[in-house]
Amino acid sequence: MEAIKKEHELIVAVSPHVKSEETVSRIMWSVNLSLLPAVVMGAYFFGIKAVLVVSLCIVTAVLSEYIFERALKRTVTINDGSAFLTGLLLGMNLPASLWSFSPFTIHVPIIGSFVAVIITKQLFGGLGYNVFNPALIGRAFLLISFPRLMTIWTEPSAAFLSFDAKTTATPLGIMKEEGVGKLMEVFGDKMNLYTQLLVGHRAGSIGEVSALALLIGASFLLFRRYITWHIPFSFLGTAALLAWIFGGKDPATGKLILFSGDPVVHLLSGGLLLGAFFMATDYVTCPTLKKGQIIFGIGCGTLTMLIRLAGGYPEGVMFAILIMNCFAPIIDRGFRTKVFGAVKAKESKK
């Protein structure tokens, strides 16, 4: 009955007119679900503080979307899961150390969620009209506003309910400051380093630490075809290639040795996997055409490695994706298909 009733409803929508069971809210909630393993791993490593930071972000994001839409008398769209996803992604990109009362830093996630939902998304017209990825703008805003608070990384602690944690540097931070040699010293041997990075036993943002959990979520999205391989694989491939070519340094002199870098460390550390699979692939802010998506991914990968290897910040995924977001419309225009019949005779022969 429901299906028949729907058949007869007049649906006015922009093309392409594909009939499918997939709706925005279904996809959004699936992405939320696919992020669950990474959040669980983050909670496992960083304890209750991680859960509290992520929940705070989600609650603020959903609440600010609700209040804003009510205030402007728009349709309230909190059920489609996009505000939830923004809050979740933002929370996953923050350090767990933000849940602390002395010094008071609870307002930091709240401000981030507010900026992400209101300024980045709602002021531009709501879901589908935002130029930038909301969660990443929220994080960029916080990183620039609170550079010190946003980079207090804690060691993964064993006790779940413990609020105390030792601060330490992220693998990328160690690599930036002291080189790969120091990283090996901290983690023991290479095999141990890879395993720890894969499982996620390292300092970092809540959701980015466990590469394995992120890969599980990503493969779910790829399997359900909510995302295609184009952006993540060109992103990761470019980053790995550049890490291999330019990532190696002579430990004694610090001089660059070409083709000696370690792409695996670069791929597994920082927010690269989280960014490549879950944030660069945001439907609204990436190019729609496949060729354009590959260019987009290559651009993201290049910028990420440029910032990581030659920039001031240890991690560049966030800025890389945000910069490429600006170019998404231009990339799309460049790969626009020619209108049938509008091609000149000369050009059609090529």
Binding site: F104, L123, I144, L149
Partner: protein
């Protein structure tokens, strides 16, 4: 009250403040509105400098408009503008050296402001002294108002302080809280954010005002 066929002086004056506000409505001269507005005092003095130059340029052009040959009018306008800007520059260097050390570069840039040349070309070169002065005053006050609002907002959010000028050389700094404010707002990126948000805000007010006006008629 106004003379028939022309806009009254009052309307000409208000035009620059509300309807054609340089920053919030025309989106011109955004360079200083982002560069110097991380401090309330700097914003106010920069706005005052522009106000002075705008009024003086409009008056001068309006007085000499009949002797300017149309073919060379733009170079003449530029000469007049740069002359008044140099006067402002020297005056600020002499009387408010601390502000001048921060915004000096942008004072010199007033020469290139689209809004000033635009008013000289579009208004002052076609009108008599009094309307031109009213126009310059309105435009300048509109600009000063915008810069004041932006710098108030940015300093308040970005530094949690307010530098209120109490005289030419003295100012009183109000510190509102000791916690860490949003550093981004006093950085250039925050300038763009502040201008964008305030522009949206004023347009929203304008829209509501217009809607209300139509409803009552």
């Amino acid at each position: 009250m106004s003379s028939p066929g022309t806009i009254s002086l009052k309307d000409q004056f208000l035009n620059g403040i509300i309807k054609e506000n340089t920053i919030f409505k025309l989106a011109l001269s955004l360079c200083p509105s982002i560069a110097v507005t991380n401090n309330l005092k700097n914003g106010i003095f920069m706005g005052a400098a522009v106000l002075f130059v705008q009024v003086m340029v409009n008056s001068t052009i309006s007085i000499i408009r009949k002797v300017i040959h149309p073919k060379v009018r733009l170079p003449i306008f530029m000469l007049v503008i740069s002359g008044w800007v140099t006067v402002t520059q020297f005056m600020m260097a002499a009387y408010v050296p601390d502000v001048y050390s921060k915004v000096g570069l942008y004072i010199a840039l007033i020469v290139a402001f689209a809004s000033i040349l635009a008013r000289a070309e579009m208004f002052a070169s076609k009108n008599t002294l009094l309307p031109s002065m009213a126009d310059g005053l309105g435009m300048g006050i509109g600009f000063m108002f915008a810069l004041t609002v932006i710098s108030f907002f940015r300093e308040l959010v970005g530094k949690a302080t307010l530098t209120i000028p109490t005289g030419l050389a003295t100012s009183y700094v109000v510190t509102l809280m000791d916690t860490k404010p949003l550093l981004i707002m006093i950085l250039p990126a925050g300038g763009f954010l502040a201008v964008g948000i305030l522009m949206a805000f004023f347009n929203w007010i304008d829209l509501r005002y217009k809607k209300g006006g139509h409803a009552s008629h």
